[in-house]
């Protein structure tokens, strides 16, 4: 599995994990992210059961496993968090941050030792080591209770399914040609996101943030001006096409 540092300053680092060549056929390719600060680390959308061993192997290149003190699940889907039962056997005293609305559902993945920090609908903040990050509401994009992670210091937005793209194996980690990339994003956003109203509210809220890197859970990351290009493109896109 590819693992790459995507940000570093004196206080913290961001990593991306993905493009696992041993991933079984028929499961969607996913990106996982991690923030390391001091002796704490936050693992974001750690992925499905089938990815667990590869993720664990990739993580220990960067941090001791007992320093993963926080896990974040943007929503309840299996490609996001079905590995929870295995993380539960791996980590001691870690906290899972996810929507309070999904707690009763997410716990079905198996959770005895990890504690659950229910994020309220309006979002919240948490400190990881020396860094403070924010859980930003992204409800109905595409889950009814859904959050993204914003790091104002690094100017990075982990945007869950927003900005996701479906491509063949081995695609690059960053968008290189935005216009060409829209072909891989259109159907995903139109079909998996149900509400234009929710989409517009999210764009309005995110446009106020200073974002240098936008990191979706599938596909490629958007850097610099491509973030703005994405917001403009998304703004014009009609979503919820199953009912149109």
């Amino acid at each position: 599995m590819l693992s790459k540092e995507i940000y570093r300053d004196g206080r913290h680092q961001w990593f991306v994990f993905g493009r696992d060549p041993d991933k079984p056929d028929g499961i969607i390719d996913t990106n996982q992210y991690m923030i390391k600060s001091g002796d704490k680390a936050l693992l974001m959308d750690p992925g499905g059961i089938e990815l667990f061993a590869a993720m664990l192997a990739a993580i220990v290149k960067h941090v001791p496993v007992d320093q993963i003190t926080h896990i974040f699940a943007s929503h309840q889907d299996p490609d996001i968090i079905s590995s929870l039962g295995l993380w539960d056997r791996t980590l001691k005293g870690a906290t899972l941050h996810a929507s309070g609305l999904w707690e009763g559902f997410i716990r079905h993945f198996g959770m005895d030792t990890i504690s659950y920090d229910a994020i309220p609908d309006e979002g919240s903040k948490v400190t990881i080591g020396n860094t403070s990050i924010e859980f930003i509401p992204a409800h109905y994009l595409h889950s009814s209770a859904n959050f993204h992670v914003y790091d104002a210091e690094a100017k990075i937005l982990m945007s869950g399914d927003v900005g996701a793209a479906l491509e063949g194996p081995g695609a690059a980690m960053e968008v290189e040609d935005f216009d060409a990339h829209t072909a891989h994003m259109r159907y995903f956003h139109q079909r998996w996101m149900p509400s234009n109203k929710a989409k517009n509210e999210w764009i309005e809220s995110v446009s106020k943030l200073d974002i240098e890197l936008m990191c979706p859970q599938h596909g490629r990351m958007f850097r610099g001006d491509d973030v703005k290009r994405f917001l403009d493109w998304f703004n014009k896109l009609d979503v919820g096409i199953a009912n149109n």
Binding site: A53, A57, V60, H62, V65, L86, R89, T90, G110
Partner: protein, 205 residues
């Protein structure tokens, strides 16, 4: 060892579920016997002195039915516990597989040694679960054996009932013979369910 562990995981929670289902059927049959025993007692009373021997047997039949129900319910709970235990162990074995794969994949990674505690703990959990499982299975097998023994007594009783039924006056003989046959059929049916249950765990120990 790995193959044995995998078999443990994949086979035994299914086997325990099958036992639970078989014993559920046995309980239903035992309830029928209990009703039959009630009818037999009433009939034997009406038949008078000539059915005295049969009447005494009905108490035994009733006791046997109650014992079957009680034991089956207890064993059924045990089987459900075993099934749960085996399912938990399967998850632990699954976790061990993942940890071993991760350690292999991590190779010389800087912090790969930090994966060892999780692997060791999972292995300890597996050993503990195997011990608990074996102890539960042993209890279940003992209970099934006890019940099978009681049922053998039941078969003797039903044979005696038939003999006693022939001693009763003509008015009631046929009815009591029918009851005796019903008891024999039901006992045989329960015996079959118990035998199938015993076979599920016959290869253990």
């Amino acid at each position: 060892m790995q193959q044995k562990d995998n078999n443990f995981g994949t086979e035994h929670f299914v086997a325990a579920s099958i036992v639970a289902a078989e014993l559920h059927q046995a309980t239903r049959v035992a309830r029928d016997i209990s009703l039959t025993a009630g009818n037999a007692k009433a009939l034997a009373l009406r038949a008078g002195d000539s059915a005295r021997g049969f009447r005494a047997l009905t108490d035994f039949i009733d006791e046997l039915a109650k014992l079957t129900i009680k034991t089956a319910e207890h064993v059924n709970k045990l089987a459900v516990d075993i099934s749960r235990e085996a399912a938990d162990s399967t998850r632990t074995l699954h976790a061990i597989d993942h940890f071993e794969t991760a350690i292999k994949k991590a190779g010389e990674a800087q912090y790969s040694n930090t994966l060892t505690p999780a692997l060791n703990e999972a292995k300890q959990q597996r050993d503990k679960a195997l011990q608990a499982f074996n102890s539960q299975v042993w209890k279940l097998k003992t209970q099934l054996d006890d019940l099978a023994r009681e049922l053998r007594a039941g078969l003797v009783l039903s044979a005696m009932s038939r003999v006693e039924a022939t001693q009763v006056g003509e008015d009631h003989a046929v009815s009591l013979q029918v009851i005796a046959s019903k008891v024999a059929e039901a006992t045989e049916s329960i015996r079959n369910h118990i035998e199938k249950s015993q076979q599920c765990f016959a290869h253990i120990h």
